[in-house]
Amino acid sequence: MDAFTLSEVLEDLAAAGDRFAQNELAPGARAAETGGAWPVRHDEVARGLGLCDLDVPESLGGAGAGALAKVVLLESLAHGDAGGLPALDQPGPTVGAVLACPDQPLAGRVAAGGRSGEAGAVLVVCDPETHGAPRLEWAPARPPCRWVWVTAGDGLALFDGPDELAPTQALAFAASGGVSSALEGCREVGRWELAPLSGHAVRARARLWAGAVALGIAQAALDATIAYTTERIVFGKPVAHHQGNAFELAALATAVHGARLALRDGACDLDAGAPAAPYWATQAAVFALDAAVATTDAGIQLLGGHGFLVDHLAEKRFREARMLGLLWGGRDAAVADLAAESLDVDEAVFVQGAHR
């Protein structure tokens, strides 16, 4: 298996995810956002596809299928509707902390609580240089948040039980609900100093999650934009057939294609335990998030005033793509991690095949 070929199993997984996304998630996306939750049946189907298990090791009760499988399924589902994914997918973005935690029995219990829907876990990324108290600015409201993983540099800590979770509306993902907390009154369960650069791996898994969801959103935005702009006539021809628009769509399609290749490559690196895997996973995520913001922006722009209305999903995707790039320290924290390693990652290993 490699970034260019999916196994038959993963092709089947993607196809099943696509069918579910197009037949059920997409038609109900706006209703789910308004209602603040995916229908129970959607949760059940997504779980049945392995959403919460794929990248959890078998030793912790998961499917052990790896990051590539997770990236493939997330893209498929997000193409239909990403709104409920943060709430449903546990351990989801926190899987990096679960994998990195030296106390694996404890990490396994935390992950199991999330997968069963009883006790959710969130990841908070802190700047190691500011030493400020961690805050939870937004987390899905479900499952009820109990565990808080905090990553700063190569430090990892786990806290139990934020006292107060305030309902919090956010830019997007209303179908997952939303809470915030000053994280006062939490009990520190454990604190670990990971091996050098291992903290980046914790954050890279969360970013890869965001990148994969962003990719599905971007592809959906591109598909919808092309469908609309090839039908809508302006100045005597379809919107997409005006060269300025056609050129922009071509560039966006290229970026989405590149994002998919990069995310799958980064996931493969993580699955293989490649030394620089967190670096390339974060790079892929940043690329995908940028592509998603650009594509969803065009998704509104090329629809004109229609794109600004809630009659279309364009504005929902626009908000979701932007919000994904703000979570877990956001794009700036990702670039800070990358900058810290950019002098040391060996570009030439590619042609030498050292880690491939």
């Binding site: 490699d2 056609a246 071509a250 490559d265 690196d269 390339w280 790079q283 002098l343 042609v351």
Partner: protein, 396 residues
């Protein structure tokens, strides 16, 4: 995970050694003098004595003995293209071999024609080149507008017109010349003919002087009633009755585009390495300026990595016989401007030190621009992508 077999890794290592010893110094010398290395340069003979190893892999369709080329080759060619262009893209393009002429043979020629015209490449006693001439002063990206005429007289074809931007054309044993039997027919009127060096009327006008990429010659020709035997029409007359001719040319480009784009990745990697070294050696150990440079380096790596994946994916599809017209255009659309940004960012990291001629970066900045023009401009690629994705009309 990019699949990379041991022979490919070994080949890359070999090109790396050749690049370090020959290609980089030759490229710098050509840049200084403005002239490509002479055809009798010992490096070219060395390449030929190795069985045309390098040229065979850079141009995957150009086995010098005419043997069947392994399917792996397009993918490997992209790897080699990156590595050779890392050292000098101009010299990489000047390597002996059939070049785009070989690609045209592959897509249009009969087996007998391929055997005949590739035969000289089995001679490892001296370097051999071939070329393809499509572009004209009045027809670049829009190849349907070529005006060079060809007419049949008896058992000969007669060519009249002019060609330019013919890489390695002046040192080639033969050149595949694209001409039209009737400009009004557009692509349906195109014919590809092999014109051998020394044919009367086939006259070199000049070797162009360029801003960069000076390591290979870019020739302009006049064709003044050039007569070639009828058997030099690639594919034979029946080949063109079903419009296969133009499709053959496009198939050539679909294979060449990701490889061309991969050269850009190599050039970008060279710029990145210079910037990395400069930050390590010259920048303060801490502070805002260093942080800004590190973030620039992260951005450069991201652009290069994604460009490489897109190029290799397109080559990988070709290797597996999968239609790659869209993906080849993705590669050619994305990589050159991305690499341009990388080289420009590297210059920003060096600042004033980057402007000096003895720093490689200013040369790379001049060299890299042509990547976004040759083999179909970025704008042409956007048209191709738009056509495939949503039927962008030809006359829009």
């Amino acid at each position: 995970m990019i699949p990379l077999d041991a022979p490919s890794r070994a080949l890359v290592e070999e090109v790396r050694a050749l690049g370090r010893q020959y290609m980089r110094p030759m490229g710098l010398e050509s840049d200084r003098t403005g002239d490509p290395p002479p055809a009798d340069h010992p490096f070219y003979l060395l390449c030929s004595r190795q069985g045309g190893l390098v040229s065979r892999t850079i141009d995957p369709e150009a086995a010098p003995d005419g043997a069947e080329v392994p399917q792996w080759q397009p993918f490997r060619a992209a790897l080699i293209a990156e590595e050779s262009a890392y050292w000098d893209r101009g010299v990489a393009l000047s390597l002996p071999g059939p070049g785009l002429g070989g690609s045209a043979l592959r897509s249009t020629a009969t087996p007998e024609q391929s055997a005949r015209f590739l035969a000289p490449f089995a001679d490892h006693g001296r370097a051999h080149w071939a070329a393809m001439a499509m572009t004209e002063p009045g027809a670049g990206s829009d190849v349907a507008r070529i005006q060079t005429r060809v007419r049949k007289e008896g058992r000969e074809w007669v060519l009249s017109g002019s060609k330019m931007f013919c890489s390695n054309g002046a040192r080639s044993d033969w050149v595949v010349v694209w001409a039209t039997v009737d400009p009004a027919l557009g692509r349906a009127g195109h014919r590809a003919l092999v014109v051998e060096a020394g044919t009367p009327g086939f006259d070199l006008l000049k070797i162009e002087h360029k801003m960069g990429s000076r390591g290979y010659e870019t020739a302009s020709f006049a064709l003044d009633d050039v007569r070639v035997p009828e058997e030099n029409l690639l594919g034979g007359e029946s080949f063109y009755e079903s419009r296969q001719g133009f499709r053959g040319a496009m198939a050539t480009f679909n294979l060449a585009r990701p490889i061309h784009a991969a050269q850009g990745v190599g050039m970008g990697r060279a710029a990145l390495d210079h910037a990395l070294a400069f930050v390590r050696d010259e920048y303060p150990a801490h502070g805002r300026r260093r942080q800004r440079a590190l973030e620039r380096l992260a951005d450069m790596r991201r652009e290069l990595h994604t460009a490489r994946l897109i190029c290799l994916h397109a080559a990988w599809l070709a290797r597996h016989g999968v239609t790659n017209a869209l993906e080849a255009s993705y590669a050619k659309l994305f990589a050159p401007p991305a690499v341009f940004r990388v080289v420009s960012a590297a210059l920003d990291i060096l600042g004033e030190a980057g402007v000096r001629n003895d720093a490689l970066l200013e040369k790379l900045y001049r060299d890299v621009k042509i990547l976004d023009i040759g083999e179909g401009t970025q704008q042409v690629q956007r048209v191709v992508v738009a056509r495939q994705l949503f039927g962008f009309p030809r006359d829009a």
